[in-house]
Amino acid sequence: MPMRPELASLGRAPKIVLLGSGGLSIGQAGEFDYSGSQAAKALLEEGCEVIIINPNIATVQTNPQPNVKIYLYPVEPEWVEKVIAKEKPDAIVAGFGGQTALNCVIALHHQGVLNAHNVLNLGTSIATLEMTEDRDLFAKKMREINIPVPASFAVTTYKDAEKAAAEIGYPVIVRAAYALGGLGSGFANNKTELEVLVTTALASSPQVLVEKSLKGWKEVEYEVMRDSENNIITICNMENFDPLGIHTGDSIVVCPSQTLSDDEYQLLRNAAQKIVGACGVIGECNVQYTLDPRSHDYFVIEINARLSRSSALASKASGYPIAYVAAKVVLGYDLLELKNPVTGITFAYFEPALDYVTLKVPRWDLVKFKNASRKLGSTMKSVGEVMGIGRSFPEAVQKSIRMVTENGQGLSYFKNDNVADEDLIEALQNPTDTRFYAVLNALHKGWDIERIHKLTSIDKWFLARVQEITSTERTISLLAAKEAVTATDDQFVTQFLGNVDTKTLGRWKILGFSDEQIAAIALAEFDRKQNRLKGPLSENRVQKASHVVRNIRKKAGILPVVKKIDTTAGEYPSPSNYLYMSYVGLFHDPMVDDGKKPVIVLGSGAYRIGTSVEFDWCAVSSSRKLQDEGYRSVIVNCNPETVSTDYNSSDRLYFEEMTLERILDISDLEKPIGIIACMGGQLPNKLALPLASAGIKLLGHSEQTIDMAENRSAFSALLDTLGIDQPNWVAATSKKDIDTFIEKIGFPVLVRPSYVLSGAAMRVAYDRDSLDKFLAVAIDLSSDHPVVISEFLMGAREIELDGIARDGEILTAIVSEHVENAGVHSGDATMVVPAQKLYVDTVRQVRRAGHLIAKGLKLNGPFNIQFLAKQNHIKVIECNARAARSFPFVSKVVGLNLADAATDVIMGLEPKLFRFNEDDLPHVGVKAPMFSFTRLSGADPVLGVEMASTGEVGCIGPTFEEALLLSLEAAKCRRPKKGVLVSAGPEHEKLKFLECAKFFRDINLPIYATAGTAKFLELHGIEVKKLDWPGESNRDVMSAIKNGLVDLVINVPKNIQRQELSYGSQIRQAAARFGCSLITNMELAVAFATALARLPDFVKTHDVVALPNYKTL
């Protein structure tokens, strides 16, 4: 069937609302930019007019383009309704915006909005969506069609529990309902154990769930697509490395399944077809199963009738453009009439055949969240992921570990022979973010597969593959240990490899060992022989020696080959440009020579705290610009959640590791005119200098520029020469250095180790005591690893300058301002363009300093400079000679695509710049951070110098207040309706709060406060309800939060870096857990309160506006 008659009969372009997923948070991340962008492309191809509602300003999806209107609004029913009322669309599509979009469309349906405005919901029906979301309804439906679901009984007495267990059969799992953190849960193998568990659980919870225990069962997913003709295809299946029990987002996922027989594969495939058919899904659906590792028994766990993280992964793993095809399917087309764009000659109705194996490995950043529990379970905690593609399983494993850790030495770097057996057993039995390394170390220790399997339930086939890696590592070590000591590293590695035959070295490469890894294993033996092996080897040293390995293996003809991902395993000729590299094979797949000059663009790697979708936007913009200018754009990236790894985003996509070795391999083949390393954030930036040393031409900033900007001393010296002030600092290598510095500057000071990524391990020390404590636990003071201690300015404004320079001249630069005072990591700050509260002269000084720095560094490309300003005096914090996190925000707010213009400069072309003045903007843009604390039990949701946000949103409005309210709401800081709870911390913060209090009083919002703050407010004539500290009485702050008396919590910590579980921390955690809006910074609180008071009837009075298109000359 072609397009649905309701749309086809309109006689004009159908107008379709496409809902996005909002800011990136744990569980809902970049994959929805990928899905959403593909969906938009598909809808546009079919002649639709697309209205995108998504406040995630850093996405590719929210790029203005012809026939697309972008509304940067919260994906909340009231705002979507306003856009619908204004745009009068014909239909709405919610399946590409995650759970957020799905919840929104369900609400719109129930509120009658869709009916009232005559808007058709495309794709899976609301009724089906609701059925699949409801545990009981879904189970009922499954039983109707004879699909097994795990038995589950809710009981209130032990007697009933015993009956339930008897019916289900032991072992059973007992779960206390309504208990947070899995309290009162456990396994019972018999009646006795059941009694203990149930009576304990019933003591704290009125109801207990008795369910079949599926401990140790396999977890398998199928990605299925169904069209309106009931044609159903399985795009691929995926098998979790970890057995059931760990959220699939936190599991290592293997695609296609490796340990399932044809019978098992088809059994679950058939069930998936039956399920989606019976549920009437239209479009994409994910089906999750658990399979008995000892029989053909299985259960369906749940289905997701929408694009999901898994479907994005499946899309990248199989090469099948799921979202693109699904978008056409929801328009009404059937799979038999849609072409498979990967081959161009076959149809969308088929199932991809893979001839490689992929491994998704999650990236957790749990160390970045203070006190966060590192246990893995049913709540997802990872912030990003990578996918390794190989033709041997160990190759895929080793690649993905290098990708996710950004360490060229890969698995060998994590080898630890000194773990005690008890610790290892604990780490294997109770999974945390480091379990994979525990498996590795157990194998290194010589534990057999059977033992590890018993402790982890990980399938023995997987363990055997990992064992191939560890046993080979041992072989490499033993061989290296036989070598005599030489004068230099290079000589040792040369001598060692001279005694290894070509076939053996080739095997190591097939097993995924990197050149750096082989060098590191050899050098460790070299050091051991000289009794000087202490801890991991330095990265520089290993990287240097890796060149020896590289040269030797190249001479021996041991080279990786390029293979295409073409969805048909080579059965049909394919023009596919989706590539990976492997040592399992001898021949490169044939590639068409387009005759264009190749340019390599490095992507961002895994999303993590500090690197997210914004750098993907930069890389994609740059790649598309290169294509427009006639270059062959070659993207290298390994993150399946990105748009840059959509094969449409470049002329050639290498879904590959972002390591020096692999980029050199790619360069050897592509022979690029140069490489763009300044668009993908920190990771490519770190690779720029090693690449340049290896002879690759850096496009844009020169190596000298990058080196000077990155090197603190050199940059500081430059600032001194230019007469630009900077906070005092010292690179201390001894305790004495620190003391001297403190004597001169006093407290507070900012302390950071030598290499910093997004503020990791940075701390503010307010006094001698906290400084000493921090130095003792976190830092190994030595001349190799100096600690940088710098002056920490209180009450300063923070300003950023984002722009583009050519040959040391700034071509354009935009000033933005943080709402919070300095001290909040720039990634966690609320940012506004144009600046609202700066002196005109401060802005002049910032621009002036920018020009001088650009000249001094000879900047030639995108840059970002961060400043502090206090009483119209500015100091420079740092300069990034690369595109910054704020680029997409700033670009969209001012209407100038900085990444495009930067690419022009990088390529030596004339950028299309226009003169503009931030003061002339018709709107104000505000960017707000998005946090994921609800998923991180134990973590203290507080802002500080360490970045903690997982995403961001950006909205525009005619005034600062409107833009602020929109972006805060989009970041889940909603307008309070019930009450506000304040604990304002130190005196000066209380004073600042007075202003807020008056605004809250004006809007009749009850104010609750803890003792000190309450007393202070009463003294100043503000009516306030006093609450006790947690646990002091039944009128304590915790019960106020739990019972919903308040829906906004303003809690400013006294001391930013305190780690212990204080009252403040308890309050903040409770606020996050119970869905209260939480503000921990007083400047932001004041801005919020002001905006609330000035815009009393905000939703009604606000006139929704679309983001204007990029301005053109």
Partner: protein
């Protein structure tokens, strides 16, 4: 290929009729073997494929690089009910297998042995460590690409049953297309299996066990008939013309005997080779395809509908739809190349499909075809 550990495997090389040669390592029996090079892109179902009689005389290249992961179940000696799953006949039919990496141990609950030991037991050689994707490119580019697998220390020639002598005498590559190989894969005697009110005559052209399993599961008594059986001496309620290897025209007088069945009105279902034979018997023509269909993901659709099915296929010959007689019509077509995938008689209960409704391995979307046939036989 052996990735870790110290013991080495014997070298083994593949020579192709286009003159190319590739070196790898031997798994399975240290025997020389020859045949037509074909591939399958299925990611599971290696034991089913290797025992599928349709692969007789062929060297099978697995495009999926990791083969043997879930091991091999225990292979039954004879054919008795219930038939052990995982196998489609009681021997490996492929001349040899080619793959990238085999699993040297298997942990699946249903596994009895590893791929390597099974191949040894079956007297079949295999090469590991080859660039299988490259071989697929070669197969796609060369019509009837033949190959020979030679272990460094070969201990003799793999058996091709009754063709062994002929192959030996001719020397060079074994081209299964040149022989009436149906003789070798068909049952030598009539066997009855299953219990039911109706008996189905299963003309064994190299039948896959899953056809038998499905017929019996649907409540039929199945009489397996050697391919050269005189049908006039058989009393059954319906006929199933099975799958099998090779050129449908190299099947002796089978086509003639099948056309005799068309005078009658008892239901007939043809599968794969059986489909081609039915078409020939009906008066249509078959031809060799430029690109055979060899995968688990072949999309077909019912002619005149928008309804598709994903099917398992392995064939290099196809029915030329333009030659169908007027009383016949196309039933299924391939969505990709529009080649014929099934035919049916306009009035009589005669149908046939090019793909494998019995699957094993591969998707089971079209199992209803066998069920429908049984219903027709029973009514």
């Amino acid at each position: 290929m052996r990735l870790s550990g110290s013991s080495e495997r014997q070298k083994c090389f593949l020579e192709l009729s286009d003159g190319s040669r590739f070196d790898g390592e031997l798994i399975g029996a240290p025997l020389q073997a020859s045949g037509e090079l074909v591939f399958t892109t299925g990611m599971v179902g290696y034991s089913e494929a290797m025992t599928d009689p349709s692969y007789f005389g062929q060297i099978l290249v697995f495009t999926y690089p990791l083969i043997g992961n879930y091991g091999i179940p225990s292979l039954p000696k004879g054919l008795s009910w219930p038939i052990q799953r995982g196998f489609e006949s009681n021997r490996v039919n492929t001349s040899a297998v080619i793959l990238a990496i085999d699993s040297e141990e298997a942990f699946h609950w249903n596994s009895f042995q590893t791929l390597d030991t099974w191949l040894k037991e079956q007297g079949v050689p295999g090469i590991v460590g080859l660039d299988t994707r490259h071989l697929v490119h070669l197969v796609r580019q060369t019509a009837n690409l033949l190959g020979q697998v030679t272990p460094e220390k070969s201990e003799g020639e793999r058996s091709y049953g009754e063709f062994s002598t002929a192959v030996k005498k001719n020397g060079g590559f074994f081209d299964p297309g040149a022989y009436e190989i149906i003789r070798e894969v068909s049952s030598k005697e009539r066997v009855v299996i299953g219990k039911g009110s109706k008996r189905i005559g299963l003309v064994d052209c190299g039948v896959k066990w899953n056809i038998v399993r499905q017929l019996v599961e649907h409540g039929c008594e199945v009489e397996i008939l050697p391919w050269d059986t005189d049908f006039s001496k058989v009393d059954v309620s319906g006929w199933l013309l099975s799958n099998g290897p090779g050129d449908p025209k190299k099947t002796g007088d089978l086509v003639k005997r099948v056309s005799g069945l068309l005078k009658d009105s008892r239901p007939i279902l043809g599968i794969c080779l059986g489909h081609q034979i039915l078409a020939l018997a009906a008066g249509a023509e078959t031809k060799r395809m430029a690109y055979g269909h060899r995968s688990h993901n072949q999309p077909v659709y019912q002619v005149g509908t928008r309804k598709g099915c994903i099917t398992s296929q392995n064939h290099g010959y196809v029915v030329d739809e333009s030659t169908l007689p007027p009383e016949w019509e196309a039933w299924f077509r391939n969505a990709n190349d529009q080649e014929n995938e099934g035919i049916k008689h306009k009035t009589k209960p005669f149908r046939s499909v090019q793909f494998h409704p019995e699957a094993a391995g591969g998707p089971r979307d079209t199992g209803w075809i066998i069920e429908q046939f049984v219903t027709e036989v029973k009514s």
